[in-house]
Amino acid sequence: MSLNRFACWKSPDANEILRTEALQGHESIFLAVHTPMQGFEVEKGTRSAWLEHRTERGFLDALNREGLKHVFAVVEGEPGAGKSHLIRWLKIQWQHQQDLVLLIQRAEGSLDGTLRQIRNELAGEFADHFTGLGEVQQSSLEGRAKDFLSKLANRMDRNSYERESELPTHHEFVEDKQFSRLLHHDQVRSHWGAPRRIMGVVSGEGERNSALADFRLQDIAELAALANDISEVGMRPIQLLRALGREAKRFQPLLEEGLTQQQIYAELGDEVRNSRILVEALNARLNSALQGLLGISLQGLKDLFRRVRRTLKQQGRRLVLLLEDITSFQGVDDQLIDVLVEQSETAQAHDICDLISVVGITPDYLNNHLRRLGNIQDRITFHIRLSTDNDGSFQEVSGVRTPEERLRFAATYLRAVRSGVQALEEWHSTDLDAPVPNACDRCPLREQCHHTFGAVELSSPRHGATQAVGLYPFTSEAINRIFLALHDPRADRNLKTPRGVLQQVLAPSLLKPEAVERGVFPPPDLEGAWLPDSDRLLLGRLHSMVQNLGGDEATRERLRRLIAWWGDRSEASTREDVEGHVRFAGVRKQVYETFELPWLGAAEALPPKDPPTLPAQTSRLSESTTTDLVEKTSGPSLDRDSDGGPRAPKTPTKSPPARKSLGRTDQAEFAQRSAELKNWQEMGRLDDGQWWDARAYELVESLPWRRLGISAYLQEKLFTQQTVALSGSGRTDSRHFVIPSESWVRDGLESHIQLRVAGDTVQDAEFHRRRVARFLRRLARLAQSRVAEVVPSGADGGRLWSVPATATQVLLARAWMRGTASPKDSTSRQWRAVVEKEAPAEASAKERVDSWTAIVQKTSGSHATVREALLHWVNLPQATKGPTAQNVTFLDAEEAAPALLRLVQSGRLDAFPPAVPRREQTAILERLADLAKEVQQRLPQVARRERERLLRLCDDINQACRGGSLPDYIGRVVQVLNSVTKVCPSVPPGAVNEWLKVRDGLRESGVLATNDERGQAVKELDDFLADAGDSDIRNLDGAELLAWAQKAPAKELGQLWELTRSIEASLEQIGRYAEELVLSSGTAGAATLTDVQQIGERLMALAQELEEAIR
């Protein structure tokens, strides 16, 4: 016989016993599963000193203390904390037979049901006392909700109250805002969900679970959202709605963050004043509106109980009221409390009996309702708390606070379920003094079972004996792990309660014993809605091991569930425990075998971890139930071959360096982060995207950029903290380097953060390092692809555009045109002209052909930026980070040098993309491509065109010189002009002045010496003119031609050309003058022969001069 597929309980028994409601009538079960309650807290009460022992028995004794005529006891606790259980236990244990003990259960959760219970309990002799206690209307919930809203709206009007003193709080506000008009509006009546929700709560719709029926901030937001559909209610209500809308925008994000209403009021203060007042005003009128619906008068409930107490007084009896949950009375709870605090001794007629009342309330009700009722708190006799404050969130609940309490609690139910209802009833009916039946006592598999799954020693003070109750099919780890993971995502309720243990930990497995019998345990139902996804995941190496297990998906899922809840989902090691059992991932090998799941552990096991430190009170638990409930500690580092193969020799080593903390990151946060990654995979959306982007950037930053062929320039432009983004982490655009949601990314990031959390085994740590290395390898490829996306291919479409090559060539072309470098210079000199800050130009580009000038002009605005980018691109600093990383310390010539040489050789730029996509970060690339286009359009022809221009000038000048040398020509022209002005003073000044102006310009520029028109400069120009006819010049090409053109005295030639043009014009003008002079002399009729002779002599002299000048 083995444990395989062995279910030692029956589903119907589990169904009966695990019900948390209506145990009345099942006293046997109640007693069998009852765990003595102890250790609760005692708040201030008028007789709290009489609670000598903080146990259920001490509480019972205090209630029964002699001479105590009136008790108003409050049992405070979160829903599920055990208030009802304690109150039911009081009922069972109540010894005074003459007392009328009235237990009102919370079973139905509705006011109607509660009143019905009272009616049933008091049936018979008290039946006639119910006169005046109304009946709940039998209309539909929707109908009642509308009635409720109407009554609520009416309660906003002053006219609804007979006396001024009855006016509830904030009546001025609601009157001033004409709020009732709003509540009467059709849109509100049809679409505001709050009244329906509240009526649902008080009617017990669904599982009430002590939920309060009240108005909340969310209801105000919902009301404000109707603003657009509401009109014709007057200005004041509309203004109010607008104000509420503004306020809702402020408080809704805080509500979504999980802040309580009180916290929001504290944080936003007057910013949500209208909303706060309305919530308070609505709640202040809620009870009276509900009472109106129930047909209960304000005095109805009070009168009922007063009548009952009078009757009991007459009978010499006491009334014992045990109310499991006061929220079940909501609507008449104010009246009920009045009933509970009315003392027999203070009643005017002393005609009512003594009253012992015990009322279950939630902390929510206490804070939001009871504390508002003035001095009621001062009249509480005993106030015990089954839960304690826990950092302002839900309270920790007594009885399940510690792992040991939870195990004990679970074990009592496991014992009962295994025994079965019938056995319990027999026990109850025959020998209540005997120990509770325990199926383990007679089970042949007991030893094997308890050894594998653990057991809890339950002792009974009543019997003095202890019983070992097996935890099968759970283990201590499973019970505690599932319990601790319970979480209400809406934060509406605390699930870490005794009820949580029953409903969420035990029930899903115990209700389906067939899962064990069919070999499919643990079943999927185990993971209900209250177990967060983040806690279901196996982490790191474990996840990969199970994923790569092969076999069927169902088995892998069972294995995952088993490890996630029975074991340690973050530890993929095989380890001995303190009892010598071998565990893998925290689960004993025999557990895998029992559930027929594959064993993934290694043949050899690591030694046990350091024994966990447990509180002293756990000493009663067997060791098998006290394993890793505390934070795990890392054990010695050893390698293991999981397949049992030969293992590498080991040598002792020092401890590895302590890993850095992720700040608040620990294993819990790591699990949460892993879940975010999992969600990213499934939903495509990454929560806390900024945090993840920062983690991704840490790895991006560490890539070997230069090895990848990515310059510092591109690295700093494209891969910054602002531009690195994980897909789905937030809004991205073309500026972002988006890392996709792929498995290697998720694995790498998960491992990256896991490596920063201490506590991994050596094997796990190495697994994570490998994944980070794999991530980096793929990330490197991705980064290169990103560069290829931003930096397009050259125009030839093949290789990636070489930006430094184009930048070098553009800047060099500019340097050539400015004359600061020549293609005939050494390459290093030309390179220097490229990267250095520009020196003043050696020659004016304005005296050149248009294309020459244009290259300089087009690049004027951007050359400094291009140079700066080029230097950034080609700089290879030793340090890649820090202040020295920007210093120019070593230039990368690998692309620049060949580019420079190619330009020198070909006079053409390398291929560059015709268009570069516009991007903010790399705008310079677009500019560079534009500049390259401008240069490329002109550069190949510029030298040839300049040569043609220069040679044309030379031809014109040489023609003017009429075969003579330039100095001779200039000398002769000077002589002519001197003679002409002397011989013919009346010669028009314009003709001479133009020439003189050009001559002065040549003198200023040094071409002509002041007193020597045949100086050196002129001779040099003359030499250039003489060479211009040389055929070699016509044959020059490429760098040679450009160098020749650069050296040509372009400016001076231009001036000379102008000079010759003006000389020719002057001579022509003088010639015309002479001709006119002769003609005018002959036709005037007044000239003498002497005049004619003088003119003839001057013309003769002029002609001789001219002849000489032009010869």
């Binding site: 020799p649 790895l699 090895r707 070593f890």
Partner: protein
Amino acid sequence: MSLLSNTQGRPERVRSLVGLLSAHGGTMPREEVYDWLLPRPFRNRDQVPTSIQNTIGAASDLGLVETFRDRLVLVHPHVPTSEDALSDYCHDFLCTTEKQEDRVLLDAFAYFVVRSEQHGSTDWIESNRQVADEVNDVLMKQASEDDERRFNDTKIAPWKSWMTYLGLGWEAPSLPTFYPSVTERLQRVVRDVGMVLGSDREVDAATFMRELASRMPYLDGGERFRSICDSVPFRPTRTTWILSEALRDLHDDGTLRLHVRGDAREGQQLAPDDTHSIRSYFVSVTILRGIA
């Protein structure tokens, strides 16, 4: 001087120098080279910066450049200058060089492989100094008494830089100071192996491993690896986990296919990995078409 003594002669700078010389037909006057790599206006003083001297030194150590009178000459005028090709050249050179000072680079890496295998992880890597001391201790076992220290912590930074350049490891914030990972290099070597053994055909594991050992002597079965194993001492019984991991990476990438025979424990034994479909053994390899 050695590659590691020229601490500022980093790979990308060597590539710059080689590219410069190559563009100029393989030779240039020294002064010209200086003016290219750091033009005078960028120098603090009119002297040759250490970075340039170290780079020329490193390139000389790698057998790429030599000095002839006042000129620098590229030893192999057609040496490719792309990142990958030059990395291949440097890898091959360092695998075969007889110069002790430069053999240190891959000897040190072999120590990383052996030590990591011995430890089962890289947890032994603590700090630059500790790593340098350990590497030196092992290398000195192969040295004569008169030999000076072969490795120290000042050499770690350039060593890591060269190892990363060769595709033998990574640096990252969550990794040890240098994390040995040979996948990048192995991928390039497998391409060459494919040219010899052929692609799209199964090659038995032993043949494949022999080819790897001859091309990556610092890994399993390689001459440097064996030498370091003797010095440590360490007796390997299976493929090191560093090489095993790289083989699995390439299997996953589709560069090659590792073949297993059912659950049989035969062929080449890998370091076990429960998280991978290739658990412990492979009997043969197919280098996939398009890689060779």
